[in-house]
Symmetry: C2
Subunit: 418 residues, 2 copies
């Protein structure tokens, strides 16, 4: 029952770089349909095997013309019409072609005139038109290769694929993409006080019991990061149960993620269990919320190598923030993503924080209509109301108070979640 010695606090940046040093990006890959690749990470560069556009084409509905023909008052013969997907005939002097958006520009034509700038002067088999505008050479023509040249690298290895990237890959004719396999993550919680929603009704909750909320947001966050999640449930606070859960998890996963059981208190069976099966470092990170954090590895029994182990604090907001700030970059690096940090904004505080904290604080806040930040009044780490209310966190250095109007660093949640 002796008190634990005081552990010196580790700066968050040091914790992150120490963590990332342990992570080797996956060198595996798999082919997936481009249709199903949203959220995945490219395992190889995508080099274009064609010109985009493949041919000079019209970017308007109108008339393909020869600029030299368009003298003031000239009336020209419309000798052909070229819809998108159809090939026209070469254009002779004095001729124009009716043309539609996306259609190939016929040989001899050097500009497009919008249909709104054309007047029909004679109908019939060969209609005649006059133009109210004199185009410059190249007007409304999209040149072949203007967007992407053949041989150009259009998407890079390590790039995370979103809707636009899938569209770009499709425009190069790629029905499949070679991506990094989904990280396999085993998720479990520890704690005798935890009850799964649905198992016990609120009015029947025993004294001291709380609902397990961390598994819900951790699972959703992991899915958003493209992970395959095995949910091992709530592991009882016993050494044998914890050892068994860790062994099973290590064999089939890249990362074992737990919440709870990593503080310096002595009621935790996770720490000695991880130490028995591998190694574990317990950090006290100089951040608030989110001080206790554990990183280690667990040896695999049925194959070589180890699984990464991360123990998050049990308090929901601490767990949420340490996930975003430490586990998210870990998972991205596992997938070979290079850009691990989202964009940070500088915005004025529309509140006061008169009391500084020793630790670097991540204050839940949201943008107001005046372009400033409002602070959620209850910064307790016990429940996620502040995270639901806020649309991001202020990153406030240790020991710093905030006066109204001070410009502070703000991380929108959207940048971490999209």
């Amino acid at each position: 029952m002796s008190s634990a010695p005081r552990t010196p606090l580790m700066p968050l940046d040091e914790a992150l770089s120490t963590l990332l040093q342990q992570i080797t990006p996956s060198n595996g890959s798999e082919l997936v349909a481009t249709f199903d690749a949203d959220g995945r990470v490219l395992a190889e560069d995508v080099v274009s095997s064609l010109q985009v556009p493949a041919f000079d084409n019209s970017s308007m509905d109108g008339y393909a013309v020869r600029c030299a023909d368009l003298l003031p008052g000239a009336e020209l013969s419309v000798t052909q019409r070229i819809p998108a997907g159809h090939q026209g005939q070469p254009l002779q002097a004095g001729q124009v072609a009716r043309i539609f958006t996306g259609a190939p520009v016929p040989q001899g034509a050097d500009a497009i005139v919008m249909q709104e700038q054309a007047e029909l002067v004679a109908d019939g088999d060969i209609p005649r038109v006059r133009f109210t505008h004199r185009p410059q050479v190249g007007e409304w023509i999209r040149q072949s290769g203007e967007d992407i040249r053949q041989g150009q690298t259009a998407l890079r290895r390590g790039q995370k694929l979103g809707p636009a990237e899938l569209g770009l890959a499709a425009s190069l004719g790629l029905a499949q993409l070679r991506v990094v396999p989904r990280p396999r993550v085993a998720l479990f919680s520890t704690g005798d006080e935890l009850v799964m929603p649905g198992d016990v009704a609120p009015q029947d909750m025993p004294a001291g019991a709380i609902y397990n909320s961390n598994r819900f947001f951790l699972r959703a966050l992991l899915h958003r990061l493209g992970c395959e999640v095995s949910d091992l449930g709530i592991v009882p606070d016993r050494r044998d149960a914890t050892l068994a859960a860790l062994k099973t998890a290590a064999d089939h996963h890249d990362l074992i993620l737990t919440s709870g059981g990593v503080s310096v208190g002595e009621e935790d069976h996770v720490k000695p269990a991880v130490q028995a099966l591998g190694a574990l470092a317990l950090w006290q990170i100089a951040m608030k919320p989110g001080k206790p954090f554990a990183y280690g590895h667990v040896r695999r029994e049925t194959q070589n190598g180890t699984a990464h182990f991360v123990g998050l604090p049990g308090n929901p907001v601490s767990s949420y923030m340490t996930f975003l700030l430490l586990v998210r970059p870990l998972i991205l690096k596992l997938q070979g993503v290079e850009n691990l940090v989202p964009e940070c904004l500088q915005l004025p505080a529309h509140f006061e924080l008169p009391k500084a904290d020793k630790r670097r604080e991540f204050l839940r806040a949201r943008r107001n209509d005046q372009g400033g930040l409002d602070l959620f009044p209850n910064q307790s780490s016990g429940v996620l109301t502040s995270v639901v209310w806020g649309d991001g966190v202020i990153d406030n250095p240790s020991g710093k108070t905030i006066a109204r109007g001070d410009v502070v660093n703000f991380w929108p949640f959207a940048g971490w979640l999209s």
Copy 2:
């Protein structure tokens, strides 16, 4: 072959409000597991049936004490230990309880002292401790109901659920949530020039053919918005095929979404087909990229009512931007979401735009390390390279040039995609 009359351009805001006036939020609902509710929209308020925390509990590993006992130099008896999930005994004068994070504060105790501020002075059956800190009443105690009170509305109808919202609902004991049904969207493209990636190799593409890229990003965007997507493929540029596709789509979907076939050119069979089966308005929106846009409805044959119809322009970037600016709010409103517009940032331009456009422009740009915006050099709407390169768009009013250093409105893509 007469030229279409010049249609006056409609401001984007007018287009959006006209569109939204046509949309009645769904009044249906369904129960889904909280585990599976990420990205869904709440169909009813979530009212807490419990206090969070349910009981006063320790927010530290340490000792539960009676502040009045903590006179300087006092040595106190540790008569019990209370792990999380266990209920302690009432604390008598002169007694303290070893307590762990999350454990209920025993009756009689009025503060927690962190274990780092305790010194063990006598071990044995009843150890004795001395404290290096004199706590205030309530210190490190999370009060019952501090985060959420019983009867409080914790989440509102129309709220979009993300990881944090799921965690909050779970902490209230909710294993299921009542959400709005997924909008059912039928997606098709038109255009004889379109080829599906995989159907024809790049080297074998016929002259004038291009790969269909719009379906790929539209499908991914619709999925991110929680829609159920029926992909009806590429419909040939023929009236009969278009009519058949529309009839099938209307019967089973809330929204029919097409790309291509909505410009004022005469090669489109979508417009007359929609008009024959319902109604259609063709808009020329004063935005760049993305001018042509069609909104209408298609009558259902097998049941009452109509399906919404939206025709997006065929150019990929036009299609992408009109989706984000017009279709995304439409789909959110269908689900009863009230907050339809993401946050806009004000950032300095680190480039020049010497030539103004008549239309409101959405310029693809990205934030640089100096906190400014760089512009993608090729603002062509033909291919998605600019959207992939950029991390958002500058919303530049019509007729406005941009000088280096001008503060401009910037919409990060992340706010639209998360």
